[in-house]
């Protein structure tokens, strides 16, 4: 299939803009529910970028697991905990300035590393969509032990989250 050459940069800037603006929205928004919804924009934008990087399976999994599962979980958490969605706990101005300075230093050094590295060394040329079968083969051959460990981890977290969220002893005795 032939796609015009301008389409790919356009899609990159579109998805990147959506992801960045939503991320800024999470940090700056005063309303918790709106922040949680802004996370949807970030997840969707990043999933679009995965499509641009030929990682179709990961993009779909990101949309299903993150945007479908985790986001609903977070919104449930917001509903369980918020008295008023507008409550805002202010940080001190010095803390804001200090953290912005630290992050700016980190970002400048990361960008310097990225621009200074000689990217031509050891690069492989053709990027193309990988069949899902290959990813499955990698998971079940090369990464079999981490794959099984992930299932044990999920079971442990299932039990742990149910244990943490159980009714407290005081609530239990007060119940009829």
């Amino acid at each position: 299939m032939n796609t015009p050459a301008w389409l790919e940069p356009l899609m990159f800037y579109l998805f990147a803009g959506v992801a960045l603006l939503s991320a800024l929205g999470i940090v700056l928004c005063g309303n918790i529910v709106r922040s949680a919804l802004c996370l949807l924009g970030t997840l969707g934008g990043v999933a679009g970028l995965y499509f641009l990087m030929f990682a179709n399976l990961l993009a779909v999994i990101q949309l299903i697991v993150y945007a479908g599962g985790t986001l609903v979980l977070i919104i449930f958490g917001v509903m369980l905990t918020s008295k008023s969605p507008w409550v805002r706990f202010a940080a001190r101005r010095g803390e804001i300035v200090a953290s912005c300075a630290v992050v700016a230093a980190l970002f400048v050094s990361l960008c310097k590393i990225l621009t200074d590295v000689d990217w031509s060394a050891g690069a492989t040329g053709s990027a193309q969509v990988v069949p899902v079968r290959d990813i499955g083969a990698v998971l079940l051959q090369d990464y079999l032990v981490p794959f099984e460990a992930a299932s044990v981890l999920l079971l442990a977290v299932l039990i742990g989250a149910a244990y943490l969220a159980r009714p407290q002893p005081a609530e239990r005795t007060s119940a009829p």
Binding site: I32, A36, L57, G122, V130
Partner: protein, 100 residues
């Protein structure tokens, strides 16, 4: 400039935004959302590196990071709900018992 580098720059920007939010906001759920944004930045880096090397290890590792992120979301929210039950507020400043 090779194809993967703009994605890595974007990953760095996303990580920076998440870190600023994590350090400056005091609401436990917003801090939690900011960790998710940082996760996205790191995942972008992993996939971009896998793309640059032309192998599947980046995507495989990215899948495991997704699993761990989902696990972290479940446990983290359970802990946030627990903390809210104890103090009745989401303010992270209310948990300062260990401050000298």
């Amino acid at each position: 400039m090779p194809y993967a580098v703009p994605f890595m720059m974007l990953g760095a920007v996303l990580f920076g935004i998440g870190l600023v939010g994590f350090l400056t906001r005091r609401n436990l759920i917003i801090m939690f959302l900011c960790t998710e944004v940082m996760f996205q930045g790191v995942l972008l880096n992993l996939i971009a590196m896998g793309l640059r090397h032309g192998n599947l290890q980046g995507q495989g590792f990215g899948l495991f990071v997704l699993v761990v992120a989902a696990v972290e979301a479940g446990l983290g929210l359970a802990i946030v709900v627990l903390l809210y039950r104890r103090r009745g507020t989401l303010d992270a400043e209310s948990w300062r018992t260990m401050r000298g």
